[in-house]
Every structure is written in C-alpha cells, then in structure tokens.
C-alpha cells in the first residue's frame, strides 16, 4: 500500500502558490472541501484561478476567498446567490468564464481520463461557442471543448483510506468524483479517514491512484443552502 495520508490540512496545502489553477469539488455548498477553503484563506495565496461549478455564498465556500480578493478568475457554470461575486464581476475585478455545467464536468473528466478535447452539442449557436471549432456529427452541430489543465484538484469525500481510495455520499459526489485525478496533484479531505483494508474494494468510487494527499477534515459545517421541508400530518 502506498500511503497518501498527511497529518493536517496545512501539510496538504503547503505548496500552493500564488497564481495557480485549482479545481474545487462541490455543487452549491454540497460536498465542498470546506477545511481546505478555510486553509486557503489562512495561507493568503492570491491571483488564483478557481474551477468550481459555483462560487459559494457571501460568507461560506469560495465566497470566503472572494471576500479576501484571492481569486483572479473563476470558471463556473452558475454564480447566482453571491452579491460580492456579482460586484467584483461587474466592476471587472474578477474575470469570469461561464461554462455549461455538463461541459464543465466533462472538461474535468477529460483531464482525469487523459483526453485532450471532446465535442459536445452544448452551447452551439450561443456565445459559448465563439472562437471554438464547430463540427457536424450525425447531422448535428457540436463544438470542441478542451480538457482542463490545473495545478491542484481539491475534493471532498465522505470516507477515505490511507491508500487514497474515496467513497462519496449522496449528491455530494457531484464534481468531486470528476475532479479527483484531473490535476497535477489531487488533495482529498474526508469526513472519516480509515486505515487501508477497512473499506470494501467493491464499494470504492475513486481508486487511490487518483489521489496524492488525503487527510481527515477537522470539522464539517455542511451548511444547507435551501432548506426545504414538508410538514408531517
């Protein structure tokens, strides 16, 4: 077994530099690597390019990095519900590249799978297609999209072991499973880190070869963005 365990979040993130490109898993606030985001705030690294489906809310998730102006560019599919984000985008302080969600996921997956580019129909005929190669396949127009190139991928899983194997829970799998192994170095923070051999190999979602560093997060707030419930009658 090749041991990927690091002692703490600060060990895991210690070599992240200003100006680097970082993928961060999660959809909305669901499954975001919250311990690592807190550490990035502490490290005060700046000029980051962040690839993440959303940009958090004003006081949680990537919103914390936006508040400190640590992000130079965001690559996302949906950025609503964040007033500071909107302000920085409209004032031109923040560069934003909006990408269709399925394309965003596939650009991660392509990087993970060693595929440099792919064709998708999403965005054909819209401003997303501007400057991109378009081609017809089976009578339908597609545009070429390239795999992401990132320095770090930071993902959050439910359980992990020292070999770096990951298991996700519910819809927190979202972009985490696509981003694991999609950058030069993948860091996984997990709710529960166990010794190798504890997790059933049949149940692993992401094999440890995709993960270079793994640690157990100190605490998970797991904030809910839209708490919707029904009443018991």
């Amino acid at each position: 077994m090749i041991n990927k365990k690091v002692a703490s979040v600060s060990d895991a993130l210690k070599d992240i530099q200003n100006g680097q490109t970082i993928m961060l898993g999660g959809f909305g606030l669901c499954g975001i690597p919250e311990n690592s985001i807190a550490e990035l705030v502490k490290l005060e690294v700046t000029d980051l390019t962040c690839i993440s489906n959303n940009a958090g809310v004003d006081d949680f998730g990537l919103g914390l990095l936006l508040q400190k102006r640590q992000i130079k560019k965001m690559i996302s599919s949906y950025v609503g519900e964040n007033a500071e984000f909107e302000r920085q985008m409209l004032s031109g302080e923040l560069e934003v590249e909006l990408t269709p969600q399925g394309t965003l996921a596939e650009k991660c997956r392509a990087a993970q799978a060693g595929i440099p580019a792919f064709f998708t129909p999403a965005g054909y005929g819209t401003e997303v297609a501007e400057g991109k190669e378009a081609r017809e396949f089976n009578g339908k127009m597609h545009i070429m999209e390239e795999a992401f190139k990132a320095d770090f991928s930071i993902v959050k899983a439910w359980k992990g072991d020292e070999a770096g194997n990951l298991i996700f829970k519910g819809t927190a799998r979202n972009f985490n499973a696509c981003m694991a192994g999609a950058a030069k170095i993948t860091i996984a923070e997990v709710e529960e880190l166990v010794p190798a051999g504890v997790l059933d190999p049949n149940q692993i979602h992401i094999p440890g070869i995709m993960v270079q560093r793994i640690f157990q997060g100190e605490k998970f707030e797991k904030r809910i963005e839209q708490r919707t419930v029904r009443q018991k009658n």
Binding site: C30, Y78, A105, T228, K232
Partner: protein
C-alpha cells in the same frame, strides 16, 4: 382568466407519460412533480447527480448531502441512484432522459431559447440549461407569455443571449399551449376564458391558428 403558476405546472404535468425519465428546471417546472398522475411510473432526474428524486424531507430529516439542482434538500425514492456530474450529463447527452421541462425569458418562433443572461443586468450563468436544451429530444418550456411591461416573450427572434438554437418543442404559458412548427408558434389550446384575440395580441412571433382552438383542461 390567465393561468396561475400552479395551473401552468398542472397543464404541463399532463405531458408526463408512463415510464418517462424527466428533468425539471428551477421555478414553475419544479412544481410539475406535484401534479403528475399517480397511476404512472415516472423518475425525476436532477443534473447534479440523482435519479429517483422524491418529495422534500420531513422537518428535521434534511440531509446536506442530498439536494437537487436548485440546491433544495430532497429525499430519494426506492430505486434511486446517485452518480457524479459528468455521468449525469452523459445520460442527458445520450438522450436517456425523455423529457426536459425548463423556464425561459424568451422563446423564438424557430424554437430558440434564452434564459441565462441579461447583458449588463443579470449574469448568473447557464448552469446545466445549455447541455439540457442541446441534447434533449423533448423540451417543454414553462414561461410567462408577456413581461411585466406587457411585451411579448414569444418572439420572432430572441433579443437576449441564446441558451440553445431550434430546440424548444412546446411552450405552456399563462395564456396558451403552443407547439413550435417550422412556420412558427402553432396554437394548440387557450387558457379558460382567454380568447384567440388575446393570445394574438400577446404573441410577437408568427402565430398559427388552425380551426377552433379548444380550452385547456387543467384538472
């Protein structure tokens, strides 16, 4: 009488057929799930990565790790599954999802849709809408026929940045049910008490009226 949002959802629910996999967008489309016939088998897909969505959880049973694409806490039904977002859009692109219902700011007579950006005013992003409209075979749009200023949102050409081209099949508004055909918006049904004249006035795009137009049956 123009339809309420709930009525629009009820009318669209009639388009949901047995053994359909359905993706619902945010807003009126989400309400459609409440009105689908109970004697048919339907599974709801949410593009963040779940198939077999159930109703909202009971108070106290919310799970931060189980949400829909609107970031709302949800439950799952027997037979449900979770998967990652790349896999989720894989099943959308390969047309495993039978019906996509989403909202729009504008639709044009050739089936173009705009629903993600108002330049200079609102830029929230397209989320999964561009992927859904580019791949889904059957797209129904739930929208208001006119904006607050009374201007038509069913146009000859969309004025806002597009989400997809030539993809919308059907539109259900507070006034009418319309099908997109090569010549434009074909009027299929009108809301109870709404006249064909009213619909003509509210539609900028080419409106095709053939024969007598029946009133919608909502319930």
């Amino acid at each position: 009488m123009a339809l309420t949002k709930e009525d629009i959802a009820k009318r669209i629910a009639k388009e949901v057929k047995d053994k359909y996999f359905v993706n619902l967008g945010i807003g009126i489309p989400t309400l459609v799930a409440n009105y689908v016939r109970e004697d048919i088998s339907v599974e709801f897909q949410s593009e963040n990565g779940v198939l077999g969505m159930g109703p909202f959880p009971f108070e106290g049973e919310e799970d931060a790790d189980v949400i829909n694409a609107g970031k709302q806490t949800i439950t799952t039904l027997p037979g449900a599954s979770f998967f990652d977002s790349a896999f989720s859009f894989g099943m959308i692109r390969s047309q495993k999802v039978d019906l996509t219902i989403l909202g729009a700011m504008e639709v044009s007579e050739n089936g173009d849709i705009a629903n993600w950006k108002i330049p200079g005013k609102m830029v929230k992003g397209m989320g999964g809408a561009m992927d859904l409209v580019a791949s889904a075979e059957n797209i129904i749009v739930a929208m208001m026929h006119v904006n607050k200023a009374g201007e038509s949102k069913l146009l000859k050409r969309c004025s806002l940045p597009l989400t997809g081209v030539g993809c919308v099949k059907k539109v259900v508004t507070e006034l009418a049910v319309l099908e997109i055909v090569p010549e434009g918006f074909k009027l299929l049904e009108r809301a109870p008490g709404v006249s064909v004249e009213d619909i003509k006035k509210a539609t900028e795009g080419n409106l095709i009226i053939e024969g007598t137009i029946p009133e919608m049956v909502i319930n």
